[in-house]
């Protein structure tokens, strides 16, 4: 049971990281990314193929996704934000096809095994807990960085671009540049999550990177409240709680078999989100606001 809980907690940490990336791209900057599974896969494959293990491999994964995110956003920098969303769908599909068919690189459907764990030095029994700690550390660091950005003038400019890009431009904001930065940085965080995924499972194949990864990230951001990083982590946690707790329904309701249960679980998650959005249309938490009393010139920082 403990091992199960540690696994779930690790998965929540990874899902939260993906959600944090999407929350910067879509929650703050208004750029829908339907290619999250693609970024996640690029992060995972970069770590699996990396010549160096551990944290440097994660750095490479982030760099790869940072570059790809910037490239996708630059391609559509002069167009409406919707075109970027369309391109991300194509991007995820390209990544899927490459991972499935370019066997020399990705070993195709057989996948890549023996991805080294960053906590491989620990005794075997302590490794799951050690990795959970490692993943939580990464989550905390990413959260801290993204929270500073969300509350900074950069975050405020992103919210302005999201809500009305014409107004942002008439106020002197570099709309295209802000979008590229937000999309690339968000991509890097999703790439970090993908890299951790590879290190956690030590084996990856294309079937792990389907669009459900993208769907869960959107659910977490919507449930948590667009723009709020803390809300996002609560949202990711609640969705996993729903998904996992419904696993035990078959112990309570004897008529359910495995197939029915699988279908029912997804329905329950959907119903949960609908219910949440009826009760709290803006999600669990509101995005941070800068209040005048926080900016009193008399007060020292």
């Amino acid at each position: 049971m403990i091992a199960y809980l540690i696994t779930i907690a690790t998965l929540v940490a990874l899902a939260s990281l993906v959600g944090l990336g999407l929350n910067l791209q879509w929650g703050l900057a208004g750029l829908a990314n339907f290619g999250i599974a693609g970024f996640y896969a690029v992060g995972a494959y970069t770590v699996a193929l990396s010549p160096v293990p551990g944290v440097p491999a994660l750095g490479l994964a982030m760099l790869a996704c940072l570059g790809l995110g910037a490239l996708l956003a630059l391609l559509t920098a002069r167009l409406e934000a919707e075109y970027l969303a369309i391109i991300t769908i194509g991007f995820a599909e390209v990544v899927r096809l490459v991972s499935l068919n370019e066997g020399w690189l990705t070993n195709g459907a057989l996948g890549l095994a023996d991805v080294p764990s960053p906590v491989g030095f620990l005794p075997a029994g302590w490794q799951p807990l050690g990795f959970l700690g490692f993943a939580l550390g990464m989550l905390l660091a990413s959260f801290a960085v993204l929270e500073v950005l969300a509350r900074s003038p950069f975050g405020r400019a992103l919210r302005a671009v999201r809500d009305d890009d014409v107004v942002a431009a008439t106020l002197g904001k570099d709309v295209g540049g802000l979008r590229v930065r937000a999309f690339a940085l968000g991509g890097a965080v999703i790439g970090l999550a993908g890299g951790l995924h590879a290190q956690f499972l030590s084996y990856i194949d294309p079937s792990q990177f389907t669009s459900i990864v993208t769907a869960y990230a959107f659910m977490a951001v919507i449930a948590g409240g667009r723009g709020s990083n803390l809300g996002l982590i609560l949202g990711a946690g609640s969705i996993f709680l729903l998904l996992e707790s419904t696993r035990f329904l078959k112990d309570v309701i004897p008529l359910l078999d495995g197939t029915r249960l699988a279908a029912l679980r997804l329905m329950l998650v959907g119903a949960g989100i609908v219910l949440l959005l009826i009760l709290r249309p803006d999600g669990l938490m509101a995005e941070p606001r800068r209040l005048s009393r926080q900016l009193s010139p008399l007060k020292e920082p």
Partner: protein
């Protein structure tokens, strides 16, 4: 010169604003007044003609670059950023913010915080001046129509503008707030800011404008003081839809 397909929206129209001057741009619906403002603000690119600011040709610059040089516009239907607070709307507009650069925001927190406090002090002073100080921490979506127009003016002021383009500042605004707007525009013009305003409220035009230019079907029709242009037979005809022509 600006065409949309076969429709000539602007042809030979021109507008000059000197520092401290309030120029009214009037004309019947469809005359191209808002289009001219859009060309000046950089939201539309003309097929011919020039936009000059302080003698420099800015025709090829985008709206953001023009705003950074001190040419700002407001919108006919106020476009407040409703999910930002009133104060945040103004803070957003502050020019040359280091905190908008990712690295500075992450690595120079003290510098950014000091910059924010300085901008906030200026923003709160502007809010006091436009009478919205008490609303500073409210979401801008909750303001009345007139307050949103004042907010747009305040936002423009944060940019330390040289020329402000106002598109129908009095449309949908309660009369007491129209007076407030008129007083502010005159006050700010006295401080050296140039204004161009498109307006249908002739009482307001008469009250605040130093000069008036009339536009009809994309062409200049008349120019002069309010009394001169309103006495002009051609202007009256244009407003009556050319019935007398």
């Amino acid at each position: 010169m600006l065409r949309f397909g076969g429709v000539v929206a602007l042809d030979g129209a021109s507008l000059a604003v000197r520092p401290g001057e309030v120029v009214g741009l009037i004309g019947p619906n469809g005359a191209g007044k808002t289009t001219l403002l859009n060309v000046m603000a950089g939201l539309l690119r003309p097929q011919g003609g020039q936009v000059l600011l302080d003698g420099a040709d800015i025709t090829r610059l985008g709206p953001a670059a023009r705003a950074r040089r001190g040419l700002v516009r407001s919108f006919q239907i106020a476009r407040e950023l409703g999910r930002l607070t009133v104060l945040e709307n103004l803070l957003l507009a502050a020019p040359a913010q280091r905190g908008e650069a990712v690295w500075q925001a992450l690595l120079r927190p003290r510098l950014v915080a000091a910059e924010e406090r300085a901008n906030a002090a200026r923003a709160l002073a502007i809010l006091t001046r436009i009478g919205l100080r008490a609303k500073a921490d409210d979401l801008a979506a909750g303001l009345s129509g007139g307050q949103k127009k004042l907010l747009e003016l305040g936002r423009a002021l944060m940019l330390r503008p040289r020329v402000v383009l106002l598109d129908e500042p009095a449309a949908g605004v309660a009369p007491p707030l129209v007076q407030e707007l008129a007083r502010l525009v005159r006050e700010l013009a006295a401080e050296g800011i140039g204004f161009a305003l498109v307006e249908h409220d002739m009482a307001l035009v008469q009250q605040v404008c130093d000069r008036v230019q009339v536009l009809a079907e994309g062409r200049p029709l008349a120019a002069g003081s309010f009394a001169e242009v309103t006495a002009d037979r051609r202007v009256v005809d244009a407003y009556l839809g050319g019935m007398a022509a």
